[in-house]
């Protein structure tokens, strides 16, 4: 994964034409290319982060990019805690970002 977006025409690995897919991200339609991971689609759409930490609300997106850190988790078609960097995006996927607040006084402790 490059740190900057490369146009398909300039990509040295010369990808073949891919089908355009469309996914929903928090209700907004985002297009990507078949074969991209969800993280790939999100990054290419200009989203550097899509989750906030429970502790102090710091932004989180792709950190390791190889499935180890679990920082990039999203809810995919109702299944939560899916690693965006490991799940290939499928046309029509419904993606929701996740934010889990810390337990507060309303929760038994």
């Amino acid at each position: 994964m490059s740190s900057r977006l490369i146009a398909a025409s300039d990509d040295p690995i010369r990808p073949k034409d891919s089908a355009v897919i469309s996914i929903s991200v928090d209700g907004e339609t985002v297009t990507g290319l078949a074969g991209q991971t969800i993280a790939g689609v999100l990054l290419a759409s200009g989203r550097p982060s899509w989750r906030r930490t429970s502790g102090d609300g710091s932004p989180r997106g792709v950190f390791c990019g190889i499935g180890v850190c679990f920082d990039c988790i999203v809810t995919v078609n109702g299944d939560r805690d899916v690693r965006a960097c490991q799940r290939r995006a499928a046309d029509g996927d419904q993606i929701r970002s996740q934010h889990d607040a810390l337990p507060n006084a309303g929760v038994p402790r």
Binding site: T53, S54, G55, I73, D81, D100, P103, V107, P108
Partner: protein, 399 residues
């Protein structure tokens, strides 16, 4: 003076000593907070300690932590990561009929020693922890149990010490002792040069035995392996430190073979930490599947929903174990100039701040905040384990 070891105990000593106005150099072989400090769960527990000297030290520490957390945060400001002090309380449960009475008797004895240990009905326990296995047979709530993020705490203590002039030399290995003509320790040799000082505080956790040998004394502290499982993030469903009452038996035992006992809690990040194992296998850090299996199976006994959780990673470390289950805090009676601060086994995070206060009082000559004689090197529990004096024939070196 020199503090050897930049784990939480060495860092707490550096903090206390500099607050008392002393000049401190911290010497650390690796990186700060890279050993035992980085390998635990950050427990500040009174619940797992029976009446006695270690409990008194733990109670003293429990009283110190809130003030130290607050003072450290206000001194270092919002730009420094929080040490995440969280007085979340502990919940200890028995999972067998045979385990219920010993837990309640243990709690009663602790109450006699001033611990807030509240036996509660199973229904009340399920209010505190709705996901807990309803098949538990007894439960005791310990509101005084707390936790910190131990690496953040160690780094914060070092930062406070640095602001008062302490030097922290990481990547520096102690290679020998510098002795005065009277034989007293007057400094240390390192692979990056000699450091002269009046006093050496050895706080190298389970590696204190090796460093003590380099300095010329035998110290019978040994590594006791522990492993923690970390689940993937999930919504917070565990709210206290929850552990099986058989944990106390594992802590107090001296068995070298594998012992596991369930200790489960969630972190601010949403992961769940699952411990605990104890094994005396030297510094062997290889992954052992049978340990992971036992930990996972016992955690599910406490929290059945964990059967569906994914383990993201495991990590392990080495506790500094003493045969008589007490830390070593104070002057080495065999080698003037040397003080020890180690041997806390699995309780070193919690006991670090009180250990540092004791060491500082001993070095400055201030009145000791609590009686520390039980932690001395010449206590009865260590008789026969210290050899017969100094190792080898250390060369006097004029400072």
């Amino acid at each position: 003076m020199v503090v050897i070891g930049a784990g939480v105990v060495g860092a707490a000593c550096a903090r206390s000593l500099t607050l008392a106005g002393l000049t401190v150099v911290v010497v650390e072989r690796g990186a700060a907070a890279s050993g035992t400090t980085a390998s635990g769960e950050g427990n500040l527990l009174v619940s797992d300690k029976g009446p006695g000297d270690e409990l008194r030290l733990a109670q003293y520490c429990a009283a110190l932590w809130p003030g130290i957390a607050e003072a450290t945060a206000s001194e270092l400001g919002p730009g420094f990561p929080s040490i995440e002090y969280d007085p979340k309380g502990g919940l200890v449960v028995a999972t067998t009929d045979a385990g219920a009475v010993p837990l309640l008797e243990f709690a009663a004895a602790q109450r006699g020693a001033g611990v807030d240990a509240r036996p509660i009905e199973v229904g009340q326990a399920l209010q505190l922890e709705p996901e807990l296995n309803p098949g538990i047979t007894a439960a005791v709530h310990y509101p005084q149990d707390a936790q910190v993020q131990p690496v953040a705490a160690a780094e914060a203590f070092l930062a406070v010490a640095r602001r008062r002039g302490a030097k922290v030399r990481t990547g520096t290995t102690v290679t020998g002792a510098l002795r005065g003509s009277d034989g007293a320790l007057v400094g240390v040799r390192t692979d990056r040069g000699d450091v002269h000082c009046g006093t050496v505080v050895l706080a190298a956790g389970p590696w204190s035995a090796a460093v003590a040998a380099v300095l010329g004394v035998l110290l019978p502290v040994r590594p006791r392996r522990g492993v923690v499982l970390v689940t993937t993030r999930m919504p917070h469903r565990i709210f206290h430190k929850v552990y099986d009452a058989d944990y106390v038996g594992a802590v107090e035992s001296s068995d070298a073979d594998l012992q596991t006992s369930s200790v489960v809690e969630s972190t601010a990040a949403g992961t769940v930490l699952i411990g605990s194992s104890r094994q005396q296998i030297g510094f062997d850090d290889r992954l052992r599947v049978e340990v992971i299996e036992e930990l996972a199976a016992k955690a599910i006994r406490l929290f059945p929903f964990l059967a569906g959780a994914s383990i993201m990673r495991t990590y392990g470390g080495f506790r500094p174990y003493m045969a008589d289950h007490l830390p070593v805090i104070g002057a080495d009676h065999r080698l003037p100039g040397l003080f020890h601060a180690t041997g806390h086994e699995g309780a070193g995070i919690g006991l670090s701040v009180g250990t540092a206060e004791l060491i500082t009082a001993m070095i400055t000559g201030a009145p000791s905040p609590i009686d520390a004689s039980a932690f001395s090197t010449d206590r009865a529990g260590l008789r026969g384990l210290l050899g017969d004096g100094l190792l080898g024939d250390a060369m006097p070196v004029n400072s």
